[in-house]
């Protein structure tokens, strides 16, 4: 690739950044979800007047997930000659979550961090399960349904990965029992029966003689919304079948709506429940995915040696 081809690629990318899947389409989707949930407007993501540090956090929390969303190979998006794989895309989408974890830790809440740690193994294993039949971590390859010529186990692994990826969104997005205090979780889990730790929510934080000099991390509200959109779009892609047509877009949209609705239902039903129990359930899911990957690797080795 020459420098002029790089410039041509950048020229083609502008519609992705500004129109679809990033830019206009993304912010319209966020506005729609806020309208449906009757929340306040997205201008809650305030530009801090604080020093460079806080401004960097605020702006980067929007730029990185926006870019991650814009690089997704969604149906009918302008084709780029070089795509980013799922590792890079997830890293771009994860940045506002890291800032939000930092903010939550400054407020003394570890739930968001715990939810992220619970989600990572499931996300990683689900992605590997999708990548194993495709032989690649490219998003377009992962989204493609295995054809009839591949062994049956590859098909099973693909759909197992697709389901697991959708399931992993609950802790990744901090829904249900994994929600942090800022989202109004119940405090049943922190009652006096919790191994003598007491009502942790009302307990005074331990005093330190060293004042915390850090300015508060700005709320990456908009960045988190972009991240949620990106993750749901990623989870919906395998169900769209990797078709770059209007039908593929409709299928992806339908899958994304169903996944979003299921997540919303899970959040409503399970909020306030014991996060530890769900964490153990996800550990079982991780173990199942791991066994499936090992089994697939063993089967592939047998085929190779046969």
């Amino acid at each position: 690739m020459t420098a002029s081809e790089l410039l041509a690629m950048l020229g083609r990318a502008w519609s992705r950044l500004l129109l679809y899947p990033g830019g206009l389409a993304a912010f319209a989707a966020i506005w729609l979800t806020l309208l449906l949930s009757q929340r306040r407007t997205i201008t809650k993501n305030h530009e801090p007047a604080a020093p460079d540090r806080a401004r960097f956090s605020a702006r980067s929390s929007i730029v990185l997930p926006w870019l991650g969303l814009a690089l997704l190979p969604l149906p009918l998006a302008v084709t780029l000659p070089r795509q980013a794989d799922i590792v890079v895309t997830l890293a771009l989408l994860e940045w506002p979550q890291i800032l939000a974890i930092r903010q939550a830790l400054q407020a003394g809440d570890t739930r968001r961090l715990a939810a992220a740690l619970n989600s990572y193994p499931a996300l990683i294993l689900a992605t590997l399960a999708l990548a194993q039949p495709a032989g690649s971590l490219e998003i377009a390859a992962i989204a493609r349904v295995p054809d009839e010529q591949v062994p049956k186990i590859a098909g099973v692994l693909h759909w197992l990965g697709a389901v697991a990826l959708a399931l992993a969104l609950a802790p990744a997005l901090g829904l249900g029992p994994f929600a942090d205090r800022g989202q109004g979780t119940g405090d049943r889990e922190r009652g006096t029966g919790d191994r003598g730790q007491g009502a942790g929510d009302n307990k005074a934080l331990p005093h330190t003689p060293i004042p915390n000099p850090q300015p508060p991390t700005p709320n990456p509200y908009l960045g988190l919304r972009l991240r949620a959109l990106g993750l749901i779009a990623l989870a919906a892609l395998p169900w769209a079948g990797g078709q770059d047509t209007g039908l593929g877009l409709l299928r992806m949209f339908a899958a994304a709506s169903i996944i979003a609705a299921l997540l919303w239902g899970y959040d409503r039903l399970a909020r306030g429940g014991l996060a530890r129990r769900w964490a153990r359930a996800y550990l079982v899911l991780d173990a199942a995915l791991l066994l499936a990957l090992l089994w697939a690797a063993y089967a592939a080795l047998q085929n190779r040696l046969a």
Partner: protein, 557 residues
């Protein structure tokens, strides 16, 4: 008159003469790498410089130059030891004599001995002879992990020499490579790469410091200072720029050199990538959990050495490329993370009630983490992920991915509070990290591809690194299917464009100020980690039971 600004410029920058002087051999190594990119250079009977040698020489001298540039201009002290270490390593990288290589590492180990660790006191009483013997061995190991590694390397390379491979470029040298030699060379690399033998903050306290603490404890409540500080500092200050951790990457060279002798068998490869992946995961989990900032930083550095070790174990072009890049990423972290504790201690001694963690103006420590794509640590982990999937070892890819995510989280958990004295080194290391990350295609093409090309005789075809000039990198498998893709330069440019757009929109909209209510003090790390052990079952399983949970309800209340 018009020459005054120019003269002042030279006067201001002449203080950095050590860094400029160290840059000369670094540029020489770069020129050497360019020279030997197609054909190794033989100088005399036992000196042979190929691409692998040149890359490690570049890492050695380039790392020293960056470390010197990262320190505030001050008189260079203790210059003899680092020069001798550098000379020994330069000999090790250039010679073909296997005994000479092992001997050079013995010199390295002796010169990086930590004498202060020999005076350490245990953190609990030693009641039995066995406890005392174990502590004695541990204290020696803490003081001299390099000696243990050097002893293993002597055994391994000594066995090679005895079996007929006195020079690794001999035609029959490959026949001398057996499991005995391999295991000891691997053990040397693992010992050096892992932080097992690094003392914790408590263990660093010497007898005098313990005595001082007992005196403090006997003081009255009014006399007791607000912040409990020992009579003496925890560690004697090292020479300002010399850091033995800067040379730890060199222990991977003897293992990588074994590819010149021939291909590895499947068991050796599996053991290497298993140990590398395991050490990386252990370092990442313990870095997340450890409350001491120095130990945390040391474990974070070790992550990338361990990932480089795992990359070597893949025995593929992509794996070796990932390993070489991991070495460069390690150097960046070693420079950026050096001496945070010393800088923090100086703050406490000077003004214990003041803010000991004045924040850096922009979050420079994030440039040394894998949380932001296009930094060197992220690209190092990404390359290993691609190499793992291409080589059919998907679980190694998963471990590398998890480790990178944990490293990013480590900074969220009180990791980005760098002291003001560390600002310069963070600036140098952060800029280098960004350059290495965004310029990864150029780095791989110019510096690493020659290494891979010249080691092809020992590698398998199950993974290759492809370079798209002007755009990015990709990893591909044996069927030339692209496994992972990173258009780093394109992404960096798009990020710039979006950042400019967001900046303009933010200015135009004149968004309201964020809430600036004072944040409560950071929660004590012990409480945070205790909650994490409960709420994250897999992390609790890896870290083990919480010592604080031994208390029964009602105890001490």
């Amino acid at each position: 008159m018009s020459n005054r600004p120019t003269t002042q410029f030279f006067i201001d920058h002449a203080r950095h003469w050590p860094a400029l002087l160290a840059a000369v051999p670094a540029l020489g190594a770069l020129a050497l790498l360019w020279r030997v990119r197609d054909t190794p250079l033989a100088l005399g009977w036992s000196i042979r410089i190929d691409a692998l040698s040149s890359l490690f020489l570049l890492a050695l001298f380039g790392g020293c130059a960056l470390a010197l540039a990262a320190q505030p201009a001050q008189p260079l002290s203790g210059w003899l030891r680092p020069i001798v270490v550098s000379a020994a390593l330069a000999l090790a990288f250039s010679t073909t004599l296997t005994p000479a290589i092992a001997g050079a590492y013995v010199v390295l180990a002796l010169l990086t001995l930590n004498r202060h660790s020999l005076a350490m006191q245990p953190d609990r009483p030693l009641r039995t002879q066995l406890d005392r013997a174990v502590w004695g061995l541990r204290r020696i190991a803490l003081a001299a992990p390099g000696l243990l590694a050097a002893a293993c390397l002597l055994l391994g390379y000594g066995a090679l020499a005895l079996h007929g491979a006195a020079r690794y470029d001999d035609r029959a040298a490959g026949l001398a490579l057996d499991s005995f030699a391999f295991w000891f060379v691997l053990l040397a690399a693992v010992i050096a790469c892992s932080p097992i033998f690094q003392p914790t903050n408590d263990e660093r306290r010497t007898k005098n410091e313990r005595a001082g603490e007992r005196r403090d404890e006997r003081a009255t409540a009014e006399d007791r200072p607000l912040i409990h500080s020992p009579t003496r500092p925890f560690a004697p200050p090292q020479p300002s720029w010399f850091n033995s951790g800067l040379f730890r990457f060199a222990w991977l060279y003897p293992l990588a050199r074994l590819y010149s002798l021939g291909p590895w068998n499947a068991g050796w490869s599996f053991a290497t990538l298993l140990l590398g992946g395991g050490v990386a995961l252990w370092c990442a989990c313990s870095a997340l959990a450890h409350p001491d900032v120095t130990t945390r930083n040391a474990r974070a550095q070790s992550i990338y050495l361990a990932l480089a070790l795992a990359g070597l174990g893949l025995s593929t072009s992509a794996g070796v490329a990932a390993a070489c890049y991991g070495v460069l990423a390690y150097l960046v972290l070693a420079i950026g993370y050096k001496d945070w504790r010393v800088a923090n201690r100086d703050d406490l001694v000077d003004n214990p009630l003041s803010n000991p963690h004045p924040p850096t103006p922009i979050p420079l420590p994030w440039l040394l983490s894998s949380a932001i794509p296009l930094t060197a640590p992220f690209v190092a982990a990404w390359m290993l992920i691609g190499a793992g999937v291409a080589g059919g070892v998907a679980l190694l890819a998963g471990v590398a991915w998890l480790v990178a995510l944990l490293h990013g989280l480590m900074l969220a958990l009180r990791g980005d509070e760098a002291p003001a004295q560390a600002r310069r080194q963070l600036l140098v290391a952060g800029a280098t990290s960004l350059l290495l990350g965004v310029g990864a295609p150029l780095i791989v093409r110019a510096l690493i591809r020659p290494v891979v090309g010249q080691l092809q005789g020992g590698l398998t075809p199950y993974g290759d690194a492809n370079i798209w000039p002007w755009v990015g990198l990709a990893a591909s498998d044996s069927a030339h299917t692209q496994v992972t893709t990173l258009p780093s330069i394109a992404i960096a440019l798009l990020m710039l464009v979006l950042s400019a757009l967001v900046h303009v929109v933010a200015r135009l909209r004149r968004l309201r100020r964020a809430d600036e209510q004072g944040a409560p003090p950071d929660r004590a790390p012990a409480t945070t980690l205790s909650n994490l052990r409960d709420e994250v079952p897999w992390l609790g399983g890896l870290l083990g039971p919480d010592p604080g949970s031994q208390r029964q309800p009602g105890d001490g209340e």
